[in-house]
Symmetry: none
Subunit: 222 residues, 2 copies
Amino acid sequence: MVDDEPDVLDLVTYNLGQAGFQTDTAVDGAEALRKARSINPDLILLDLMLPEMDGLEVCKLLRRDPKTSAIPIIMLTARASEIDRILGLELGATDYVPKPFSPRELVLRVKKRLEQNAGPQAKTAFIFGPLNVDVSRHLVTVKGKRIELTATEFKLLTLLIQRIGHVQSRDQLLRDVWEYESHIDTRTVDTHMRRLREKLGPVSKHLDTVRGVGYRFLAELN
Amino acid sequence: MVDDEPDVLDLVTYNLGQAGFQTDTAVDGAEALRKARSINPDLILLDLMLPEMDGLEVCKLLRRDPKTSAIPIIMLTARASEIDRILGLELGATDYVPKPFSPRELVLRVKKRLEQNAGPQAKTAFIFGPLNVDVSRHLVTVKGKRIELTATEFKLLTLLIQRIGHVQSRDQLLRDVWEYESHIDTRTVDTHMRRLREKLGPVSKHLDTVRGVGYRFLAELN
DNA sequence: CGGAACCGTGACAAATTCGTTACAGTTTCA
DNA sequence: TGAAACTGTAACGAATTTGTCACGGTTCCG
């Protein structure tokens, strides 16, 4: 959500959180653009009255960028004129909610919009610096260059990404990637991890070994 | 429990004590916030009618603070209106009990709520001043700087944190961290504690030796 | 006060973990 | 059918972790 009023941000993100959504916030257009490109959110709540770059401009830039052009944008504003609404929608807003609004109504609209998107456009693409992973396309690229992974390697990578930050023990990975049902003593996870790291090159630094525990995918490298 | 009526406080805490719960009390919002942050209770009983800062405000602040945001809050009040209830629930209350109430009913509700929390929503992130510990991410930071702990050190730290304030004997730690099944005479707990303290630096003051008994994690440093 | 128990500390060696190489069986595909 | 790719296992060794021992300072109690 993009809004320069902290109270509104807090109230709406709280309500969305209660409804089960993960949220992130930005207080101005520049931050919004940056985050949209790096996080690739499922939907953006965009206030029109922003400091410096107004919401319409932000919307325009989001729509122009291939990385963000498909993200649904719900515009929020106290502006009631028909011209503003139409302009916003023409510039690419998905929907329009006038302020003041009830958080419940907003949550309901967000829910509905995401349900509509759940089918063909569910989030399946992840970006981490030079690494792009598109799950539905079975596509991994590093700096735009395509990396060929085997089925098992791809499954391992995407599972770690989906559980980003959380350490997965070898037994967990055997259960969830290999679908083993009981504990066995094997080094096969280690071997696949090595192969995956080889193929990914330097971005394999995102694949972190926690000694004595397991592996995890790091969103950020320090 | 937070209430400005001493009779109510005494009655409820007595009944909760009889039911086996440890309790602590606050008579106003400021005290409640301070204690919630330092004690990190399993649940808060919060009266709406408080002097100075009312219960809704306290609830709001508790929910905003990462340290206290996950604590279940049961609201107590003589206010019967639906608006207040919805507002309270929207601000983050877990449940709502109208005054006057039977202490028995309250204890039962507390019990049920705590049982519901015992399973899938167990806490995995802890904050103590500069120290952050995130169990599922296997992440420990001090002043934002990541601290690398070995598997055993991490296990020892998190177990003491989960049993915060309670002294764990060496035998208990050997059983629960090392998974030894019978008593052995060893100094290995002491050694790991030393290593953990070394890595944590000044915040290791939270790791307290109780001579002749064992070790505990202190929520606050005096 | 002195002795015994306790615990922090430094040093060392054994144990464990995991990256790596190599190999062989299985599967896939032209 | 045969070659290539995939997958899992075994063995080796480097790095890290772990546990033990001995010493000495601190605390407690008779």
